[in-house]
């Protein structure tokens, strides 16, 4: 699963012990050296005018030290546009965007992380990798989601971490430690709900192949499907640089 785009709110371990360990275990189980897939993203909303888009995605490294490149392949208007994302363990990621029509790259200054990601229902913050250590957790109980028994865990950002959300509720499957739903709240009001479905085991990693975000304000949802997903494919570091981005 794509570490960057849905920089998972990944989770771990058993109840009575430590809630935090459940989340940590979940993060640990989803770890891989590299990843590649072809994504399709589509927005379903009443006033939606955002076109269906395809992209190719590659990642090297994981949690905190990963680098990814995302290249749009369709439709024609956006073909060739690419993003380079460099994650840092201690601060927000650096992102560059390449637009072939302009023949130049730009550094995307993520000064407002509640901004929506290119017209979809995801905000940039939703797409960031989050580290277990940045949140405080509280176990709220257990609940059945999609017929699966889940831990229901509340996470609140620590003081140092700025977020548009005041809290989130994570649902982590008890059997395979995979998060399948996140509800994000701002002042007790639901802002977004992200569901992870179509879960398959690939290279020993349980992976959601369909991710759906629902924006409660706009009453609109966006669906991301991951195709041809592979983990631990050999990749070279030099393919994740600005020069590589410009090469296309």
């Amino acid at each position: 699963m794509n570490r960057f785009v849905f920089g998972l709110v990944v989770l771990g371990l058993a109840q009575a012990q430590d809630v935090r360990q459940i989340v940590a275990e979940s993060q640990k189980r989803s770890q891989s050296k590299s990843e590649q897939y072809e994504g399709t993203i589509e927005v379903f909303g009443s006033s939606n005018k955002v076109s269906l888009k395809h992209w190719e995605f590659e990642r090297i490294g994981s949690f905190g030290v990963s680098k990814s490149i995302l290249r749009f392949t369709a439709p024609a208007e956006v073909k060739g546009v690419a993003l380079l994302i460099v994650n840092h363990p201690d601060r927000s990621s650096d992102q560059w965007m390449w637009t072939p029509a302009l023949e130049r790259d730009r550094h995307i200054a993520l000064q407002d992380r509640s901004t929506r990601f290119f017209g979809t229902d995801f905000s940039f913050e939703d797409l960031e990798e989050r580290d277990v250590n940045q949140f405080d957790y509280k176990l709220l109980g257990e609940e059945l989601v999609d017929g699966q028994q889940c831990w229901k865990i509340e996470s609140k950002p620590k003081e140092a971490k700025s977020s548009q959300y005041t809290s989130a509720v994570l649902f982590i499957r008890k059997d395979i430690y995979v998060g399948i739903q996140i509800e994000s709240y701002a002042k007790d009001k639901l802002v977004r709900r992200i569901r992870y479905s179509d879960i398959q085991k690939l290279d020993d990693i349980w992976t959601a192949r369909t991710i759906e975000v629902y924006d409660a304000n706009r009453k609109s949802r966006t669906v991301l499907k991951l195709e041809k997903l592979k983990y631990n494919v050999p990749m070279k570091d030099e393919n994740f640089t600005l020069e590589a981005l410009r090469r296309g």
Binding site: K49, V50, E77, V78, V81, A101, L102, A109, Q111, D112
Partner: protein
């Protein structure tokens, strides 16, 4: 108050027409004052609003004069911890191919990071205006337009809009429409948003930004952040709050505002004169009434109050009407000022609504009332001095005493001497103004005497024209010097102003033409826009050799023109290869040694400044200018002062090598191209367009076209002068109408006697016509003479305080010749009404003594 109602009202009602004519002076003065200022302020207000709206929540703006700066500055600004958000901006004023739309302001912003500074969104704040942001960014032809603009041009999402770019006219695609509020109502809706990197590419801005808008973090003081960024970036950058940018515009409109003030002051002055004149006559006419009031126990104070009350009333009515007329004038002028500023200064601003300023309106009204009261002061005093016994005697008019005449002549003489003294010792500006004022005053005081002399001299001529009527007319004018001199003085002042303005226009024209022929000698000019003032686009330096390669081209000079802050003022810098320039044209220096100054300047060791810069800023030969550049502060001495009219506020000429080095900018605004002998302009122009025209947007202008363009600009600037001339002529006509109307009513009995002893209607008519024509002629003679003097002062004032032009004295004969028929015709037309009313009144009534 009761007196006012009881005594004044019936009189005013009876002479309503005369009253209206009298206050017309005030109406005109107030209207011109309010109109011109309101129009100016409206444009200013619109500009400020534009600045505010574009700025959004921006607290500070970082800019580097007009030259822009490298992209890397953005990261440095963003790295300041107190900066919450910083977003780059490029502004480009671009010609749209859409009919009737003219220029549109393109705001290039970083669409991925800018949203927290500016609100482009619909009122909901959530639904984006851009349907598909990724498509918007991926396609460099994407623009967001305002819904006003979209509506005006029937545009929708996906519509194409043609715009001039570096690469010629291109079609842009509307990919978003913003609602007309906030940002989008700036510029009257003629605003479009583009991705900043697309803007750079399409409009040839390289990897540079014009500006960085930023907000500071909560808890940080804006002033501290400003200092911190200033310290970090150095003196070539300006860090200012958005509202401070309005100031730049204000300094530009300063000259204009001054001109408006002069015109309205003049109109009010004449208005004052008209009121004085009417009141004086009204006092004479109402002598018996005043006598009766005094006999009935009215004090002198009460009589004075009565007349002052009337003047306040006249002032109030006049000012109120003036305010209404002024707002009308403002509406008419709005477009003109907008386009003037656009063409002359390259600032496109559209004000669609006039913004009335209550304080300004109040000031205008107070101004009108004060003018009226001041004008009525002397007549009111005279009224208070009326001797009741004398006043009640029938059939006697008070004559101006010989003593009064003598005193006036002596005063005039003394004032004239003082005026001359001011001229002789005219070291300071103040003395020039004082000399001007004294000359005017002396002229006014001498008007009755001189007018009498001129009428005496004209008497034979009049008799020759019409023996009977001519003599009668001349005698009637001679018998009432006060009546005559009022009109003559008003006319004289107006015409003097016309002559002075005309002369200044002519002189400016002359010197601009002269400069054009010396400095603008290239055969072809290659510009990025059809108007040379728009500096939105630049050419890469590499275009120079390409141009040199075109056959028929002998010499190519690249020029970079930019506004750079020097001594706290945005100043036009002309960066050119001075050695090459001097080979082709030697600008005549007004100070400095020609060879030496060109040598030093071409080595980059000195700058040349324009004549007007030297005068306006008080900079002398040898002074050292400190010019802040991105590479540190330059200290360059002034090696020469040359005549150059590139900019009204003055310009600085430096070698382009220095500019390239210190501003890190090798682009060029303009190429000056000289042809080989025998090469045809049109052929070379065609070859240049063939060779380069399809690669980039360029305009090849021939020398003649550039001259015409500059003369058109000059004409436009002098448009204000023509307004002034029109006002002056209008006031002159008003003066004649007023005086004649007054004079005819005043002389009803006399005209009655003439008819009783056998004067035919036609004889009476012709007499009045001839009188009017004589007043016109006398006014013309005196006005043209006084104008000669005023022109001298006018030239000195423009020279030293306004535009810094050193102008030659040349009397505007054409305008004077043109005035002759205009004024005589006006005099004749204004005499028709009074003449008819004189011959159609009842003879019995005219002859009666009440």
């Amino acid at each position: 108050m009761i007196l006012l109602k009881l005594i004044s009202w019936p009189y005013i009602r009876k002479h309503l027409l005369r009253w209206m004519l009298t206050i017309a002076g005030i109406v005109l003065g107030v209207a011109v004052f309010l109109g011109m200022h309101t129009a100016n302020q409206s444009v200013l207000y619109a500009f400020r609003q534009t600045v505010d709206r574009i700025a959004g929540s921006t607290q500070l703006q970082v800019s580097a004069s007009e030259t822009g700066f490298d992209e890397s500055v953005l990261e440095r600004v963003q790295s300041v911890p107190e900066v919450r958000a910083a977003a780059p901006v490029i502004e480009a004023s671009v010609n749209t191919g859409l009919k009737g739309q003219g220029n549109i302001l393109i705001l290039g912003v970083d669409m991925t990071g800018d949203r927290n500074l500016r609100d482009y969104e619909l009122e909901s704040g959530e639904a984006g205006i851009v349907d598909d942001p990724l498509v918007f960014l991926a396609q460099p032809d994407s623009i967001i337009v305002t819904d006003t603009f979209a509506r005006q041009n029937q545009l929708g999402i996906g519509s194409k809009v043609p715009m001039s770019t570096m690469e010629g006219e291109k079609l842009f695609t509307v990919r978003g429409i913003m609602k007309s509020s906030g940002l989008s109502s700036a510029f009257g809706g003629n605003l479009a948003i583009m991705d900043i990197y697309a803007t750079q590419k399409v409009f040839g801005r390289g990897r540079r930004f014009d500006r960085i808008d930023l907000t500071v973090k909560d808890g940080a003081r804006v002033e501290d952040v400003k200092k911190k960024i200033e310290g970090m970036l150095g003196p070539s950058f300006q860090v200012e709050s958005p509202s401070a940018r309005g100031g730049q515009f204000e300094s530009i409109s300063h000259v204009y505002a001054l001109t408006a003030n002069i015109t309205s002051a003049f109109a009010l002055f004449i208005g004052m004169f008209l009121i004085y004149n009417t009141f004086q006559i009204s006092v004479t006419q109402r002598r018996s009434e005043i006598g009766i009031l005094r006999a009935l126990g009215a004090t002198r104070g009460q009589i004075r109050t009565l007349f002052m009350g009337e003047s306040v009333l006249a002032g109030l009515i006049g000012s109120t009407l003036g305010v209404l007329l002024g707002i009308g004038i403002a509406r008419l002028m709005l477009g003109y000022i907008g386009s003037l500023l656009g063409e002359v200064f390259g600032i496109a601003e559209k004000a669609k609504e006039i913004s009335t300023n209550p304080a300004l309106i109040l000031f205008a009204i107070v101004l009108g009332v004060i003018t009226s009261v001041v004008a009525a002061f002397i007549p009111a005093r005279n009224a208070a001095r009326v001797d009741p016994v004398q006043a009640l005697q029938k059939g006697k008019y008070q004559q101006m005493s010989a003593g009064e005449n003598r005193v006036r002549r002596i005063t005039a003489f003394v004032i004239a001497i003082l005026g001359v003294a001011c001229l002789v010792f005219r070291q300071s500006h103040g003395l020039v103004y004082a000399g001007d004022a004294l000359t005017l005053l002396a002229a006014l005081l001498l008007t009755p005497t001189v007018a009498q002399l001129v009428v005496q001299a004209l008497r034979p001529l009049l008799r020759w024209v019409r023996p009977v009527e001519g003599t009668l007319a001349a005698d009637s004018l001679l018998q009432a010097p006060r009546r005559t001199s009022g009109a003559v003085a008003a006319l004289m002042l107006s015409l003097a102003l016309v002559v002075a303005l005309g002369g200044m226009t002519r002189a400016s024209y002359g010197s601009i033409l002269n400069w054009l022929s010396v400095a603008l000698n290239p055969d072809l000019f290659i510009s990025t826009s059809e108007s040379l003032t728009t500096r939105g686009f630049r050419f890469p330096e590499s275009m120079g050799p390409q141009l040199s390669g075109v056959s028929g081209v002998a010499d190519v000079q690249g020029v970079r023109i930019a506004r750079i802050q020097v001594r706290g003022m945005q100043t036009i810098f002309v960066a050119a290869d001075i050695a090459a320039l001097s080979r082709r044209a030697t600008l005549p220096p007004t100070a400095g040694n020609t060879a030496e100054m060109y040598r030093l300047a071409s080595q980059g060791k000195a700058v040349l400044i324009s004549d007007n810069y030297a005068l306006l800023r008080g900079v002398k030969l040898g002074d050292v200018l400190d010019i802040a550049s991105p590479r540190g502060v330059l200290h360059l001495p002034v090696a020469g002062v040359v005549v150059d009219y590139s900019d009204q506020q003055g310009s600085i000429l430096l070698d382009r090598s220095v500019y390239k080095r210190y501003w890190d900018d090798s682009t060029v605004n303009l190429f000056r191209v000289f042809l080989t002998p025998g090469a045809s302009e049109t052929d070379v122009k065609r070859r240049i367009l063939e060779a380069l025209g399809n690669q980039r947007r360029l305009f090849v202008l021939t020398n003649r076209e550039v001259r015409q363009y500059i003369m058109r600009l000059t004409d436009q600037w002098f448009g204000i002068t023509y307004v002034q001339i029109a006002v002056a002529v209008l006031v002159a006509v008003l003066g004649i109408v007023n005086t004649l109307t007054v004079s005819i009513t005043d002389r009803r009995r006399e005209l009655g006697v003439l008819q009783a002893v056998g004067g035919l209607r036609n004889q009476i008519r012709r007499t009045i016509w001839l009188e009017a024509l004589t007043i016109g002629l006398v006014g013309l003679i005196l006005g043209l003479a006084l104008g000669a003097l005023q022109l001298y002062f006018g030239l000195r004032i423009t020279g030293e305080d306004l535009a810094g032009l050193r102008l030659n004295y040349e009397y505007p004969y054409e305008i004077s010749l043109m005035l002759l028929p205009v004024i005589l015709l006006a005099a004749f037309l204004s005499a028709i009404g009074p003449a008819e009313s004189a011959v159609h009144g009842s003879l019995v009534e005219a002859l009666e003594y009440e």
